[in-house]
Subunit: 237 residues, 3 copies
């Protein structure tokens, strides 16, 4: 199968399209889009200009594996211009990705979630439903982000306690952060590896979070400490 395009798809100019690509009905495509092998775009999605979906990182002399790994853009998802979505990533319905962002391999994103512009999601991470990861954030590999979590701009998380760059242990023991439901993280926050954010906790602007945050507590500072209780506010679906 070369590819399969549904009714009422609005094509852009200079599209490049791989094998086994499925584009469902009512999809809107911008210009200069590259869809690699095994990409599925569900109905009603809007894909902007200069976007690559299903990207594979190949080293010189290497060939892409022949494995039919699917990259899926859900129903009514919007991906804004200039972003790159790697192979094996799946984005749930009604979610959104901003401009010039990079979402690496095997990132699983739920429905009704947004990823801001100029944000990097490093891959092998699960992001829930109704989540907001705002602009210019860095989500390291091996994170779990719970439903309704909000992460404000210029967030950064680490996953390698030893910073083992070019050491023999490089790439071992990597572990990112985890958020339970309803977590809110303010602008400019830095998080160390393996931090657990309890349900409904709040992290103040500019904090450096070095240890777990208990549920429904507010933490702030460098390093972040508990300063008071967080209120329980109902979320809107």
């Amino acid at each position: 199968m070369k590819h399969q395009i549904g009714r009422n798809v609005k094509p852009g100019k200079n599209m490049e399209i791989g094998s086994n690509v499925i584009i469902e009905e009512d999809v809107v495509l911008g210009n200069n889009i590259s869809l690699k092998d095994n990409v599925v775009i569900r109905k009603g999605a809007i894909i902007g200009d200069n976007i690559i979906i299903g990207y594979i990182d190949i080293k010189p002399g290497q060939d892409a594996t022949a494995e039919p790994i699917v990259t899926e853009i859900g129903e009514n998802v919007r991906v804004r211009s200039g972003s790159v979505i790697y192979r094996g990533t799946r984005i749930g319905s009604n979610s959104m990705v901003g401009h010039n962002s990079v979402i690496r391999e095997n990132t699983i994103i739920g429905h009704d979630t947004y990823i801001g512009s100029l944000t990097a999601i490093e891959g092998d991470t699960n992001i829930g439903n109704y989540v907001g990861v705002h602009t210019q954030c860095h989500i390291t590999k091996f994170c779990n982000i719970g439903d309704y979590t909000f992460i404000a701009p210029l967030f950064v998380g680490a996953n390698d306690q030893a910073m083992s760059h070019r050491r023999r242990t490089h790439g071992q023991d990597l572990i990112g952060f985890t958020t339970e439901k309803y977590v809110r993280i303010a602008v400019g926050v830095t998080v160390l590896p393996d931090v657990h954010f309890g349900e409904g906790c709040i992290v103040g602007a500019g904090s450096v979070v070095t240890r777990d945050v208990p549920p429904y507590k507010v933490v702030m500072g460098v390093p972040a400490r508990v300063v008071r209780d967080a209120s329980r506010e109902e979320v809107v679906q």
Copy 2:
């Protein structure tokens, strides 16, 4: 009127051009540029490759409003490659926008101002003349940036005290920061909502600014506190 192109315009390849577009004389256009409806590019401007001007964010099933909202790029403005400028934004003469930046709707930028690369301006914000907003900054919605202000890289401002993501109050009571003239903000600064920076104040590197800064004072730290007076140095126009 389809569009109107002045003398001595240097066109790029694969340009896409909407209705009611005006390109004045001596404009230089790169490749893969998309100019949406009602864009005006004043004389002598230089627009780089892979740029979208007049971008409208449309949700699935939605149509762009027919309102003739102008997006204006002033005389001799340079916009570097990969940037997106939303509908209703206006950039004054001799200003500059870096690579891969995002400037959202209804941002009003004065003359002789620069916006660095990889910076996000979230829209509904006024930026004065002779301003520098450097690389990888995040300017939230509803800010006012005074003339001659300098903001160093990796700045982030917040505008939602309650972080009301997915709460019933979402989008209410948003207010960003304000700078008077001659403010200087060093690298890596985080600012809470509704902070007022007095004329000629200086903010030290890595500060987290939680309250108003008096004129001609130097603040630094987490949270930022006044440490000394700032000198009054004449600026160059």
Copy 3:
């Protein structure tokens, strides 16, 4: 000489190519690539989509100088989509540049080094071999980064102590940071101008570094202070 293309080069679509361009054998080129004058791409390099190499920043009414300044991409280098590499920059063999990054003029990068996505290197800087400058970092002008240095995401360095924006002294006395070998800098670190990082030192996450760091010491905090000795671990070439 117009340009010179080696055997087995895989071309992309819509390539724009200047004078005196050399593309050696086995190079793989993506779509919408712009190679300016005097670009050299060594054998086996992989250049992604929407990339500009040899970029010159020209002001309105100005012409590029006719000087034959070479921009060189080394053997087996990978440059991922959406990045811009300015004229006079040279990247050593087996190095890598991520997506949507900006590397300005006269940046000299060694071999086996990587520059992450969404990172800005401001130019006139030397970066050694086996270095990692991760995602969303800001490397200011006039830095020296030693071999095996690791810089984690959302790093920012300053180079202008006076923040002389629009003052008469603007652009004078600029000096960035220097790292010796084996330096490791964690996520979210801010560095003042002219800081020297001694061999093998470690900087903790979220630190603001205001003074020199002695060799084989661990510093952290705001401002960063020595907290203990760093271990000496052998690196892997």
